[in-house]
């Protein structure tokens, strides 16, 4: 007779077996919380993002939770990113070299004939921190509240959120009510330009709005998670979001073009953009996880609409292919399409009456995007996990609209934006 002592590796998340995880969940039915559950888990990642010839970013994410023995959970998330490069300023290409004033008013940059004007002064670092605490109110009810703060050199955001979750039907159903509030402040370099006023040449003062821009965001949501059977879980969520305040992008302009040539008009060719100061959004989200014998499929769909006239659809599919107990490959496919906001204009024509709002920001235009990705993950001997993710993303719109004027017919008015993403992740538990 012999006693063999060993520690299993675990076939599920965090080195935990699926049966064990299910039993630990079931222990919750008895109001039994594990005392050894006092543990800290940390997920960290370093992400590189590049749009060739445009923006490059590097981002570090540390995200973790500490489970206390009495059922309380502390979450934290820290994100630091650095961004450099060039971003489309909204103006149209022209048949000659165009000169634009930098946002500070000191300095200018030029765009070659036929090229999409890019403001190359983009440079920022951002830090964001959120901390949350989950409290079990009773056996089946949990309250989560959190605080969020972020800052960069021209923007800050402060917010708080509250989530109440309740388990029903032997924990096969979870209902969540969610509320969040954010107060954002924008203090752009060179001040906030007065909408529809011209971009002045270098050295001349521009017309400005007084003070900083502020914006209030209120989110309200209702979510339901339903375990259908041992293999399928469905999650449905509806969110209403109300944004009021300054939502104009102070760095974006639009071109007013000559009705014949399509080139910018001679006087005041570029005006600062303007967006409405209220926005109501509705978001419906559904996600299904399907556990096969060995692998896991996740499919989600998101529908978005707002009173700016945007409707969008997102379909996202991942397949986690468990190569072994310790390694997996996860292909990722995503498709997104959106209709333009009511006030999106690629440009205005000289002599036309000014609409109430105008933006030529390509992110508000008609477009669709596709993402192809692949993640490789490997559990180490220590039980910690290493992941490597590669993704390609392309954003496409109508570059040659049939109603383009004059020279604009020859230029790509909505160039495809490509992006590459590489991420290295390390997930680990801290020893007690």
């Amino acid at each position: 007779m012999a006693v063999t002592s060993r520690k299993g590796r675990g076939n599920g998340a965090g080195g935990k077996g699926t049966v064990r995880a299910a039993i630990m969940g079931a222990c919750g039915l008895l109001g039994l919380a594990g005392s050894r559950a006092e543990a800290t888990e940390v997920r960290s990642a370093l992400l590189g993002y590049t749009e060739p010839n445009r923006v490059s970013a590097i981002e570090a994410i540390v995200d973790g939770n500490h489970d206390f023995s009495d059922g309380k959970i502390l979450n934290f998330r820290l994100v630091l990113d650095a961004l450099t490069g060039a971003s489309a300023n909204g103006a149209t290409p022209a048949s000659y070299t165009q000169t634009f004033t930098r946002p500070s008013g000191n300095g200018s940059y030029q765009t070659a004939p036929g090229e999409t004007p890019l403001d190359d002064t983009f440079k920022d670092t951002r830090g964001a921190l959120s901390v949350g605490l989950g409290l079990p109110l009773n056996r089946m009810t949990n309250l989560n509240f959190g605080l969020y703060g972020s800052g960069e050199h021209d923007y800050s955001s402060l917010g708080g959120n509250l989530t109440l979750t309740r388990d029903l039907h032997q924990r096969n159903t979870t209902v969540a009510l969610h509320g969040a509030y954010f107060h954002d402040t924008i203090f752009p370099e060179g001040g906030r330009p007065d909408p529809f006023t011209p971009m002045e040449p270098e050295g001349l003062p521009k017309a400005k709005l007084s003070g900083d821009g502020t914006k209030e965001i209120l989110d309200l949501g209702l979510g339901v998670t339903q375990v259908l059977n041992r293999k399928m879980i469905v999650y449905l969520n509806y969110t209403y979001s109300n944004v009021t305040g300054y939502q104009t992008d102070p760095y974006k302009i639009f071109s007013v073009v000559d009705p014949v040539t399509g080139d910018p008009r001679a006087t005041d060719p570029y005006l600062y953009e303007s967006r409405p100061d209220a926005r109501d959004k509705h978001i419906l989200f559904g996600k299904m996880s399907w556990h096969l014998e060995r692998d896991i499929i996740q499919l989600s769909y998101r529908y978005f609409m707002d009173d700016w006239g945007v409707h969008s659809n997102t379909v996202d599919l991942t397949y986690r292919w468990n190569l072994s107990n310790r390694t997996f490959l996860k292909p990722h496919l995503r498709y997104y399409n959106q209709s333009a906001t009511d006030f999106y204009r690629r440009y205005l024509v000289d002599g036309q009456a000014l609409p109430e709002n105008v933006s030529a920001d390509y992110r508000l235009g008609d477009m669709h995007t596709v993402t192809y990705g692949l993640t490789y993950g490997r559990k180490l001997d220590s039980g910690n996990e290493l992941t490597l993710r590669l993704e390609y993303y392309a954003q496409m719109g109508d570059g040659y609209p049939p109603d383009a004027i004059g020279n604009l017919k020859d230029f790509d008015l909505f160039p495809t934006v490509d992006a590459f993403i590489m991420q290295v992740g390390f997930n680990f538990s801290l020893p007690e």
Partner: protein
């Protein structure tokens, strides 16, 4: 056995007897009076759970629902929670864990003899085994006539967790709750050391058992090497498969698991036993520290 409280090196030890097992509480408190009050509370909780769920009594809820004559019986919250839990465990284990399998003890008496019942006898009992035949609609349960619910497979581990939880509400001191070898440690000790525990492997008088260290968490053991039948050189272990009415051949002699709660550890140990030959592989997949005796 009355409660016996005595001073040990750096902690207090309380001993009593409940659930047919020697029980022990170790507490890192300063004063005897405090130790005594806490141990009394733990003892009362163990005796309460024993009285409520023992299948040897005729005055408790278990007796009431097993003698409902096929009629619905309404149960209290705690019993309902345990039934919900047993229901989930039946689901999770694909039917291996079944609180209605106690009926099989009518033909299986694991007394070391060679009295192995016939396949026919086992088959004849199977209509009386199977959790899905019970109608459980919280808070009402209907147990068909002839069937029996037995929470013995959960009771001791559940009592350990309940007693530990109860004490943890009253003191922040480090403690170890040990009911007959199923145990749970709560709260770090002041000097950061672990509790030294001896886990007796049932039926192994000739070995010293396992000497383990436990900081936080729980240990539970399934299996009893004394309980078996032996015929024609074949060993029939006492662990029964509710779907066949037959022992799980080639089950380990015992399995000990380290978990977060005693109930979790006990269930994993039981499920490992039910996997027979595959016990080690099952435990490997669950990622738990374990000790398997073959």
């Amino acid at each position: 056995m009355p409660l016996d409280v005595r001073r040990q090196k750096g902690h207090w030890q309380g001993r009593f007897s409940a659930m047919a097992s020697p029980c022990e509480i170790l507490l890192e408190v300063d004063h005897e009076a405090e130790a005594r009050t806490l141990c009394e509370a733990a003892k009362a909780e163990a005796l309460r759970i024993e009285a409520k769920f023992s299948r040897y009594r005729d005055d408790n809820i278990l007796h009431a629902l097993n003698n409902g004559a096929g009629q619905p019986v309404t149960v209290d919250e705690e019993t309902a929670d345990l039934l919900d839990f047993a229901h989930r465990c039946h689901e999770i284990s694909g039917g291996r864990f079944d609180i209605t399998s106690g009926v099989l003890r009518r033909i299986w008496k694991f007394d070391g003899s060679d009295r192995v019942p016939s396949r026919k006898q086992a088959k004849a009992l199977l209509p009386l085994v199977g959790w899905p035949k019970v109608t459980w609609d919280r808070p009402r349960i209907t147990v068909p006539v002839g069937m029996e619910i037995d929470l013995g497979g959960l009771g001791k581990e559940y009592a350990v967790d309940k007693a530990a939880t109860l004490l943890a509400e009253r003191t922040t001191a480090s403690m170890l709750v040990n009911f007959g070898g199923d145990l749970r440690a709560v709260g770090r000790r002041k000097d950061g050391r672990n509790w030294q525990v001896g886990v007796e492997l049932p039926g192994q008088a000739d070995t010293a058992g396992l000497q383990l260290e436990l900081g936080l968490g729980a240990l539970a053991t399934s299996g009893d090497a004394r309980r078996f039948l032996l015929r024609g050189g074949v060993r029939y272990p006492h662990i029964l498969n509710p779907r066949t009415g037959w022992p799980v051949m080639r089950a380990p002699r015992s399995v000990t698991v380290l978990g977060d709660t005693c109930t979790e550890a006990g269930l994993l140990a039981t499920l490992a036993m039910l996997h027979g030959d595959g016990a080690e592989a099952f435990l490997e997949e669950q990622g738990v520290q374990n000790w398997v005796m073959r």
